[in-house]
Symmetry: C2
Subunit: 226 residues, 2 copies
Amino acid sequence: MTIRKKLLSKTKPRVAAKAKRPIGKRAQNKAAIRKRIVASALSLFQTKGFDATTTKAIARKAGIAEGTVFNYFRTKEDIALHFFEQEVDQAIASVRENPRLRKAPLEEKLFALVHAQLEFLAPYEKFIGAAFIHALKPASPLGIFSHRAQELRHRYVGFVQELLDESLPKNQHTPLSFLAPEVFWIYYLGALLFWLHDSSPGKQHTLAFLDRSLSIGVSFLKQGKR
Amino acid sequence: MTIRKKLLSKTKPRVAAKAKRPIGKRAQNKAAIRKRIVASALSLFQTKGFDATTTKAIARKAGIAEGTVFNYFRTKEDIALHFFEQEVDQAIASVRENPRLRKAPLEEKLFALVHAQLEFLAPYEKFIGAAFIHALKPASPLGIFSHRAQELRHRYVGFVQELLDESLPKNQHTPLSFLAPEVFWIYYLGALLFWLHDSSPGKQHTLAFLDRSLSIGVSFLKQGKR
DNA sequence: ACAAGTCCATGAGCACACTCATATATTTGG
DNA sequence: CCAAATATATGAGTGTGCTCATGGACTTGT
């Protein structure tokens, strides 16, 4: 009785609140400002690079006070992280929604995934380069393992796992194949590095590299064993 | 004539300076201060972590002015990098100087190398952990590729190449084996991560992991091909 | 042993990312 | 429709890593 009542009294208002949508001025403004911050930051990152872009400049370009930026993003880096989230989400979506790929061989799906990511990044190449340099920051090791980026990595790795499950007979998993998605994440980072340094027209070298390495990798995965 | 004079006047003093070794007060002091900075920084990194350690605190503990720190290291991170340089150099030396390893199988050499590195790092585990978190800093990708750390990586990769050449018949290189040292560098970073999260007594899990993965890796390298 | 030259410790100062108390704008409740 | 409650934009302030002009300590040449 009490429990049921509690449940009702708690769920009702919530549902009501969510169902009703006055879209108050506040919410509108919030969304608009957030968008303006991201746009300003991205544009500045592109032209000046990450380090040389100050939060003050971002705020100024977005037409808000400097402090306001930090009501929307906890750190300057979070703004950039947001950008990479878009990148991953968009690439995953583009592979998911492509019916032609549904029954394509695994290496083609993976190629499409990475390709979509690089296409997304292309206009921001300078900024990405800066982010790479900046990424090492402290002493030497890694950088892929930050708590903040882990969720993003998780989403990515999960999707790769889906693709693998779809294409590989379950009984075929080699002792190492459970690592495959994680390895692919690192592989992607390597490919990104390759791409950044690739000055061939149309980034041909990168595409060739992807083609070749994915063939080898997938066939290794399939007939497995050492 | 003039050129020769110039050459002489320029080279003579240099050679003389290097041949003679008065070990002036200046040089003594410089070495001492450098050592004090590294010691202070390391001690603070250990107790407070990397971020919470201010350069002011390092200077204070070393008994010098804050600005002086930057006469010895370009950035705070360079101080930490210096620490990892020691780590790599010491590990390489320990493998080189161990006569028992001279004719040991490849996987044993590699195990010894990584083991020496981890032993060196053991007392500073907390600081390393902090450095890892800190390493990702900006958006998402990498961090191993900083220009500054490249020289260190190069030294490491070069040594691994030596070990491989020593153990693998030259005619046996598979199409991928030229990548092996670079891959090993990444493998090492992965092992380091594993080690950091390994709470088993005596880091047994890490040792077991190294053992197993190195066997697999080396045998893959040897009989090569997919 | 002295003067000229060179090195380098110094600490006030700078620009930056980020915080916080306050003011202001918006929503809510009656 | 107004007052209380709430959300949030604001920008001066804080502590940070790092720079730089200066003077004083050391070295060199004679």
